[in-house]
Structures are given as structure tokens and as C-alpha cells.
């Protein structure tokens, strides 16, 4: 494995060095911002306590905390995009380059088993990408937590923190490898992989949203204190019967005066409820998405092995 890692590094030293270096730099900055955000927020709160009459007195502290929060948001967003970028840029050309430049002929004549060669070429790169994304995901979680000041992030910044980042990167990389192998040209492989990944993740998002909608539970709005949950809809619950009706249905049935000023209170005998998935269930949703992506990864890997067996080198 050490030889494979060494050769993988030698094969793509510039791309790996640049991209993995950028990932680790973002992770390091995220951690620095996470360390600074806590004291900066405390400084704002302390200043506001001391100068409750004048918000301007705390401008310096507030500006600094806002700057850090903005940076934190940027790093979390970059972490969310990293698996797609890394997977496409490193995965698609990995095999396409071998075929396009003709080095596949040399490699496939030296290696009796093309499947083994494929594994030896891809696994070290995948391992490097996964480790980099794991570090990035954990750093992103730290900075997002520091910015939100919650004990857990839950559904906030879904997919932009934690191990899911690495699982997404692995799936995109494997799909890119398969497409690159099939197409055999670097640029078309990168473009096609980008399009396929966009479609795949649109599908995954639509599927996940449908799942969340189906599994959302009604919680009285005044009891909803957790920001980490995933709100789906609001409705009214009859206090006597417990029946939940949508707001549209309630308005249609009761025809309230449109000119009436809304007081913020629920209609008599009704309680507003929010349909949401509580933040505690975030790990379960992550596990489901990760499971689906692992299946996609395995299928893409098997497809790549199938393609390489019958592929003609140039």
C-alpha cells in the first residue's frame, strides 16, 4: 500500500498537492475561526451588557464577530462544495488521462489483472481525498457549531460538515473514475461527470426532502425551541379533538376578516403546530444518505471494473 500511495502521489503530485493543500488550509482556517468565534461572541455579549443603552459602543466587537461569522459561513459553504469539486477534478481525469495519453497500454501490459491495477491506482487517491475531506468536515463542524452557539448542529448546514462530506467525495470520485474510463478523454469526462453528479444530487435532494416531509412530526409552535430541526410546514391542531388541519383549510373554513390585525395568538381552541424533523434525528438522516452513497459508490466501482475489462487502450 505504501508503494501504491507513493506512486499515486508521484502520478498526481501537482493536482493532489494543490487541492488537498487547499482543503487542509480551509480546515485549518475553520479551526482558527472556531477558536476565535467563542471569545468574540462573548466579548460582544459582555460589551452589550455593559453598554445596554448604546449599541454603537460595541461596534468594534460586533464587527469583528460578524467578520468571523461571515468567514465561518464561507468555510462551511466551501466544505459543502469540496467533495463535488475534488471528486470531479481528481476522479474524472484519473483514468481518462491514462487512456488519452496512451499510458494505459504500458500499464495494462505490465499488470495481468486490470481490475487490480484499477484498484491500486484509485484506492490511494480515494484514501487521500477521504482523509482530507474528513478533516475538512470535522473542522467545518467545529466552526459551524461555534457560529451557531448550539450544542449540536442538527440539520443546520446539512451535508457541509461531519463525515458525510467525505462519503459524498468518495461517491463523486468513484463516479468520475468510471465515467473517465468509459469516455477516455479528460475534458469530456470532467464535463460529463459534473453533469451526472448534478443530476444525481438533485435526485438525492428531492428524495431526501420527500422523506423528511413524510417523517415530519407536529410540534406546538411555542414548544419549538431547537434551531437544529428541519421545519417542513405549519398547521393548526384542534385542542379538543387533537385533529391537525392545514392553515389553508382552517382559513377556508373560518374565513377570518382579512383586515383584522394579527395579534400573534392562535385562534380560540386551536394551537399552531410546526411539522418538523427534530435535530436529534440528523445522524439517522446522515446515515441513510451515507448508505445510499455507499451503494452508489460500490455500483460505480463495479461498473468501472466492468468497463476496464473490455476497454481498448489507444
Amino acid at each position: 500500500m505504501r508503494t501504491d500511495l507513493y506512486l499515486a502521489w508521484r502520478h498526481q503530485a501537482s493536482e493532489l498537492g494543490m487541492l488537498i493543500g487547499a482543503c487542509l488550509a480551509i480546515a485549518a482556517l475553520s479551526l482558527i475561526f472556531a477558536l476565535l468565534l467563542g471569545p468574540a461572541t462573548e466579548a460582544v455579549q459582555a460589551c452589550l451588557r455593559e453598554n445596554s443603552s448604546s449599541f454603537d459602543a460595541c461596534k468594534a466587537e460586533t464587527d469583528f464577530a460578524s467578520l468571523l461569522a461571515g468567514g465561518a459561513g464561507l468555510f462551511v459553504a466551501l466544505t459543502g462544495a469540496a467533495p463535488f469539486f475534488l471528486g470531479v477534478v481528481l476522479g474524472a481525469p484519473l483514468m481518462a488521462r491514462e487512456i488519452e495519453l496512451g499510458t494505459a497500454s504500458l500499464a495494462w501490459s505490465l499488470n495481468a489483472s486490470r481490475a487490480k491495477w484499477l484498484i491500486r491506482r484509485v484506492v490511494p487517491v480515494a484514501a487521500i481525498v477521504v482523509v482530507a475531506l474528513l478533516i475538512m468536515g470535522q473542522a467545518s463542524e467545529a466552526v459551524a457549531l461555534a457560529a451557531s452557539q448550539e450544542s449540536a448542529l442538527g440539520f443546520q448546514s446539512l451535508g457541509s460538515h461531519g463525515p458525510l462530506v467525505a462519503v459524498r467525495g468518495l461517491a463523486v470520485l468513484t463516479i468520475g473514475v468510471g465515467i473517465g474510463l468509459f469516455i477516455g478523454r479528460q475534458l469530456p469526462a470532467v464535463l460529463l461527470t459534473g453533469a451526472v453528479i448534478a443530476l444525481l444530487f438533485i435526485g438525492l435532494t428531492v428524495g431526501r426532502d420527500a422523506l423528511i416531509r413524510a417523517e415530519a412530526v407536529p410540534i406546538p409552535a411555542h414548544e419549538q425551541t431547537f434551531l437544529d430541526s428541519w421545519p417542513v410546514d405549519s398547521a393548526y391542531r384542534d385542542d379538543d379533538t387533537g385533529e391537525v388541519i392545514s392553515m389553508d383549510d382552517w382559513y377556508e373554513a373560518n374565513q377570518p376578516d382579512p383586515n383584522e390585525v394579527w395579534t400573534g395568538e392562535d385562534p380560540p381552541g386551536m394551537t399552531m403546530v410546526s411539522y418538523l424533523v427534530p435535530g436529534e434525528r440528523y445522524p439517522e438522516f446522515v446515515a441513510r444518505e451515507a448508505g445510499a452513497l455507499v451503494v452508489v459508490t460500490v455500483l460505480a466501482g463495479l461498473l468501472a471494473v466492468g468497463v476496464i475489462r473490455s476497454r481498448r487502450p489507444l
Binding site: L7, H11, G102, T103, W108, S109, N111, A112, R114
Partner: protein, 298 residues
């Protein structure tokens, strides 16, 4: 020599490369690259595979390395089907492609490491020694080497794999005369000392006639000639006048514009002169071209 005669000659010899009714067509719109080739190459020695461009040389070699799936027929390496059991077949074969492409980002030493990782039998010290003798720097990157040096590295990789068969697909084409000599020296030395069998393809006979002991000529996807170099030279002659009664193999125009007719005759017969290997090949190719043209016209 007819195929039956060749079969007889091969009796008792271990066949390392074999084609059985091997045919290849890349698509239905294109002509056949190989047409029903039946061929058997015994262990040992260097066989020249010659023919003009698009004769099917590369397709035949790529079929034996498992790069091309035959449209019909089968290709065997040491008795193993090169397509359906490629993994086992490849254990017996080393390959040098038409334009050996090394990895730009790997040094020569890295290439040797890669080959060692790929094949447990790879003789890395041996490869280093060979390349050292040829003054190919191990620290140089793939893209820093000349075409000749790249070919030498590719050959060293193939030779040091300690395989039974070396398939060399026009590796001399892009080399200068000195590099060609060095390449052929390395090859003949390895074949002599290690008992490897080599199939060396080229469309220039003069390059390889001194190194090879067997000759296979392909023309428009067909097997035109399959015999030893000694037999080819002993049984073909150039007619010096029009009185020849020997069976005509074929005729072609020489560089000075004169027409040469090659016949099946002993070279020491009066009114004939010995044919060169290139003249033998050209005569057979001319005959094949004429036959193909007649077929098309019919």
C-alpha cells in the same frame, strides 16, 4: 513454405503464439483488419512481423496482448486464450507499443518500481543494470527522455518481466539508426541469453533482417508469408531476364524505375540473382495487392 509444411516443421516445438482463424473488424463500415489468420510461432528466436501500413500487424499483436477482442477466431499465448483468459495469458507476455508512452510525472526508477509492484517476477536490479549500460538516467522523468531512451525503458520493462514472449509493435519506427542498433542489441542479447521468444513488427525489413530468424508477412489483413529467413532467402531469387520459367511470386518497380520479378528458385541458378529479404517481402505483397484488386473488381 505452405502452412502444412510449417505445421510439420513445428511438430515437436512448443507453440507460444497461436492464431486460429483470427479475424478482426473494428466496425461493420470498415474493412477487415485481419482475415482468418492461422499462425503458430514456436518458442525461441525472433520472428519478424512485416507488412505495409494497415496490413494488420498491430491488430494481430494487440490481439495477443488482450487489447483487441477478436471478431472471429481466437488468439493464444502459451496455450491460453488471450481475450477470454487475459489475466493468465498476460503473465506470459511483455509488450512494447508503437510509440512507448511513459508517464511524464514518473521517473525511470518510478517506472521500475511500478513494474515491480505489477509483477512479482519483475527483475528490478536487472532492469536497472540494463538501463545503466545504455546510459539511461534512472532519475530522469518520462518526458525528459528522448524517443530512443523511452523505447529502451519500455523494452527494459518488458524484458525484466521475465516473460516467455515479447510482443514488439514497431518500436523501431521512431528511433534514429544508432538507437535502433542499441534496441536490437538489447533484444537479441536477451533472446539469446534468456530464451525468450520475440515477435518484432516493422514495415522496414532492412532494419530487422539481421536480428530475426523467422519472417511473417501480412498484407491487407491476410497472412502472405510464414517461413524462416534462411528459407526465404534460399527459395527466392530475382530473375535477371525475361527467359525465366520459374514460378513467379510477384513483380514490382525498383527505385531506379526498372521492374524486378521475384521467382521461386534457388539463388545460385543461372540468370537469377539472390533476392534480398525486402525483395521477397515486396514481391509477395505485390502479388497480394494484385489478388485483392482482382477480388474487388470481381
Amino acid at each position: 513454405m505452405t502452412h502444412d509444411n510449417r505445421d510439420t516443421a513445428l511438430m515437436g516445438h512448443e507453440i507460444v503464439l497461436q492464431a486460429e482463424g483470427l479475424a478482426k473488424r473494428y466496425s461493420r463500415r470498415r474493412a477487415w483488419a485481419l482475415r482468418e489468420i492461422d499462425l503458430a510461432i514456436p518458442r525461441g528466436g525472433i520472428t519478424a512481423l512485416v507488412g505495409p501500413n494497415a496490413a494488420g500487424k498491430s491488430t494481430l499483436i494487440r490481439s495477443w496482448i488482450g487489447f483487441e477482442q477478436p471478431t472471429r477466431g481466437r488468439a493464444f499465448v502459451c496455450g491460453v486464450d488471450a481475450w477470454s483468459d487475459r489475466t493468465r495469458a498476460l503473465e506470459h507476455v511483455g509488450y512494447v507499443s508503437q510509440s512507448p508512452t511513459l508517464y511524464d510525472t514518473l521517473s525511470v526508477a518510478d517506472h521500475l518500481l511500478m513494474a515491480q509492484r505489477a509483477r512479482a517476477s519483475f527483475d528490478r536490479p536487472g532492469a536497472e543494470r540494463r538501463l545503466d549500460e545504455l546510459a539511461v538516467p534512472l532519475a530522469a522523468m518520462g518526458n525528459e527522455l528522448s524517443g530512443g531512451q523511452q523505447a529502451q525503458v519500455a523494452l527494459a520493462l518488458a524484458l525484466s518481466s521475465r516473460v516467455d514472449v515479447l510482443l514488439l509493435d514497431e518500436p523501431l519506427a521512431s528511433l534514429d539508426p544508432l538507437a535502433r542498433r542499441e534496441f536490437l542489441y538489447l533484444l537479441t542479447d536477451a533472446v539469446r541469453t534468456e530464451g525468450t521468444t520475440a515477435l518484432l513488427s516493422s514495415h522496414i525489413v532492412t532494419d530487422i533482417e539481421q536480428a530475426c530468424d523467422h519472417l511473417i508477412v501480412l498484407g491487407v489483413g491476410r497472412l502472405v508469408l510464414d517461413l524462416s529467413v534462411a528459407d526465404a532467402l534460399a527459395t527466392h531469387a530475382v530473375a535477371l531476364d525475361d527467359t525465366s520459367t520459374a514460378p513467379i511470386v510477384g513483380g514490382f518497380r525498383d527505385t531506379d524505375g526498372s521492374r524486378l520479378t521475384v521467382v521461386m528458385a534457388a539463388a545460385d541458378t543461372p540468370n537469377y540473382r539472390p533476392a534480398t529479404l525486402e525483395e521477397v517481402m515486396l514481391a509477395h505483397l505485390a502479388a497480394t495487392r494484385a489478388a485483392t484488386a482482382s477480388e474487388r473488381a470481381a
